[in-house]
Structure formats: C-alpha cells, structure tokens
Symmetry: C2
Subunit: 221 residues, 2 copies
Amino acid sequence: MFNEQSATVSEPNSGTEKRLLEAAGEIFAEYGYRAATVRQICEKAGANIAAVNYHFGDKEGLYMAVLRSVPDAHAEKYPADYGPGTAPEQKLSAYIQSLLHRVFDEGRPGWHTKIMAREMIEPTRALDTLVEEIARPFHQELASITRELLDSAATEEAVRLCTLSILSQCVYYHHARSVLSRLYPKRKYGPNDIPRLAEHITAFSLAALKEFAQQNGGISE
Amino acid sequence: MFNEQSATVSEPNSGTEKRLLEAAGEIFAEYGYRAATVRQICEKAGANIAAVNYHFGDKEGLYMAVLRSVPDAHAEKYPADYGPGTAPEQKLSAYIQSLLHRVFDEGRPGWHTKIMAREMIEPTRALDTLVEEIARPFHQELASITRELLDSAATEEAVRLCTLSILSQCVYYHHARSVLSRLYPKRKYGPNDIPRLAEHITAFSLAALKEFAQQNGGISE
DNA sequence: ACTCGATTCAAACATATGTTTAATGAACAA
DNA sequence: TTGTTCATTAAACATATGTTTGAATCGAGT
C-alpha cells in the first residue's frame, strides 16, 4: 500500500505532494484524465515518475486527490455577493456574472470548470463526487433565484427547466469555444467579453422568466 | 502509400471498407478519437487489424473518412420541414424539435452530434472541416430565423448572441446528460422528453426574443 | 490453367504509458 | 554510532496500441 496518511493529513513533507497536486490540476484540466500522462505531470512537478504511485497509489488516486484538494477556490475569488434583501433580478445578474468569470478563468478555480466539462463528455468514477459537491449546490442556488422570479404557482419542473436554460447559456461559451472561435474569428468570446455576455444572458433570461411569470408559471403540465 | 483510390471512388470491393466506416462511426462517437482503438473497430467490423491501415492509411485517415462519409444523414431523417411562407415562430419550433431529435438520436445521424461534442472539448484536425460543413450552416439557419423574430433594427451581434442562447439550450441536454441523470435521477431527459423540452425551449426563447424585439433589437451596444 | 494485382491475414514491431522494484539518501531516535 | 523509517531515484516491467511486414488468398482477365 502507499502512503495514505500524507494524502489526507497535512504533514511537513518536502512539498512533492503539493507540487504534484498543482501540476496534476493543470495537466488534467488541459488534457483530460485519460490523455494526461503521469510522466508529463511528474516532469512539470519536478518529481520522479514513481512519486505518483508512492503518494497517491495510482493515477486515479491522484486525480481524485486533485478534485478533493480544491474545496472551491472559486467562491472566494469571484463571489456572487448579494445580500439577503437583494432583488432577484440583481441576484440573477450577479450569479451569471460570477459563473461566466468562473467559466473563463484560466487559473486554479478554472480547473473545476474544465474538468467538469470533460467529465460530462467522458465520465470517470469521480463524477458522482463532483456532481454532489459542486454541481448540485450550484444548480440549487440558481434554482432558488429562478423560483423567486417565476410565479409562486410555478411547477418544480418549470423551475428546473428554466434553471437549465439559464445555466446552459453560461456554460456554452466555454464548451463551444473551439467552435465559436472558428465560426466567428473576429469575435473572441474571451474573458474580455464577460460583461457583454453577462448582460445579454441576463436580459435574455429575465425577459423569458417575466413572460413565464405572467402566464402563471409557464409550461406547467 | 495505401489504397487511396477506393477511399474516394466507390468500387466493387468486398465491403470491408463500408463495414469499417460503419463500425468506426459508432466507436468514435462513443469513445472519442483518442480512446477508440483500431482493434476495437476492426473487431466490430469483422475485419483484420491491418485493414484500417490498408484502406485508410492510418487511424486519423479512418476518422476523417468517417466524418466525410456522412454528408448529413440527419437532414433526411429529421427534416425541419417548413415552407417559405411559414411564420418564424413555427420555424423556430420546428428547428428546435429537429435539433433535439438530432441530439438525442442514437443511430447514424447521432454520430455527428456526439463527435462534434467531443471535438469541442478535445479538438482534432478534423474540427475545421466539421465547423465549415456542419456547424456553420446550422448556425446560419437558426440565425436567419432569429433575425426574422427580432426587430429589423437588431444588430448582427444581437442576432448572434440570441442564436447562441437558443442553440445552447438545445445542446445542453446532450452535453450535460451524465450530470443531469445524477442530479435528477427520476427525470430521465431522454428521447421521450423531446416534446416537453422542445416546448419549453421554444417558449423560453420566443418570450425572450419578443421582449427584445419590442426594445428595438435588445442590447445593441 | 496461368498471371497479376488487389485484398486479407497472422505475426511481429515500435512506441507509449501505468506500475513496480530494489537501491540510495536523509532525518532522527536509541 | 547505529538502526529505523520515510522519501526519492533510476531502471525495469507489463501491457496497450498504432503500424508494418511478408506470406497467403481471392478474383478477374487472358
């Protein structure tokens, strides 16, 4: 068995573990679990090839550790800081802006988004954890905002569909960025466009929700 | 060099090529270019391992041939059949339904959607071809509908953003299906839900577009 | 029946990659 | 000092996978 202690309990090691996690985060996010190689990761971390197996058992152990190691670096970096008395319209705007920042972030919090995007297409055993710890609270937060904006008589299913409609618009610019950059080479759809995109998505979604609210919860079946 | 003739010109071969293309389409769509193995493909096609290299040069040649071999099997299977006099609202509805069918299709036309989804996350050299031959006409078709629904004074950029907003909702249920099935295990979001999803997306998008049209083209900057 | 090109086949080859192993070093306690 | 434990290292190992090779097989034309 490998050194399981140091993976969970922080110890005064020589930092190899930390460097390994850091390097693995970048590599996994950029190349995906399968395409990323332990040699690549170890080289970037300045560690020996056997370091991964020694510290994390195997490649999958390292992957899981990476996901566990970032208990959500995003929330503190791009907080959707609305108070309890804020109007739901402003909450939505803040939420969308925050999510777009997260989506376009290239640094550490960006890992989660990129890795999640890959897990969607090519799920690994880590997906269950990711869904429960990250996706579900994220969905629920937006769902509560949507519920406020819809009529109180709105079905849970209507709330859910609208939530997904809003969410999909935000993540699309990340998912489809390789296609968009080829379709519209002049428009970059990069981090600089966040304000413009956020404004559009917010207006688009608010308009739809307002209309639905007037219709008493929209397509309640 | 390999037998390049038979890859382009149809000849009375013993069908190995055709079976190879068929098998490769499924495997590539399911596992992605990288994870798919030529042994897997050859086994499914009932061909020898060397068949791929003989008929297509290498694995990438087979991949390209697969993409080239389906000049769009979808259009004939799920036509968005609206005439020239149709109201734009109905065009949008038909377009969304058609796209959802395409997205959820498991058979041959479904290849394109699945492969495109993978190319978005992990682009190969085939992406440029895919974008020009498939994504661009598809985007433009929806853009023309959006343009009709928006005010005539709408910016091209506004049209583009709204088009992407609509498109994103449709593809999201495919992209995120692994996450959605875990988030809401009771709701399947499978082929059976196409009518419901289409109705929601159409209503959501139409409501937003109507509002934008009243505002004279929405967020024209 | 024979020939020749195209096709198929089993086997080998080369490489990439995750993993293991045995040796070495470093820090520290007895 | 000596011995023990943890960490690191280079090398080897096992496997998977794309590709190549040379022989065998098939089919059409003469």
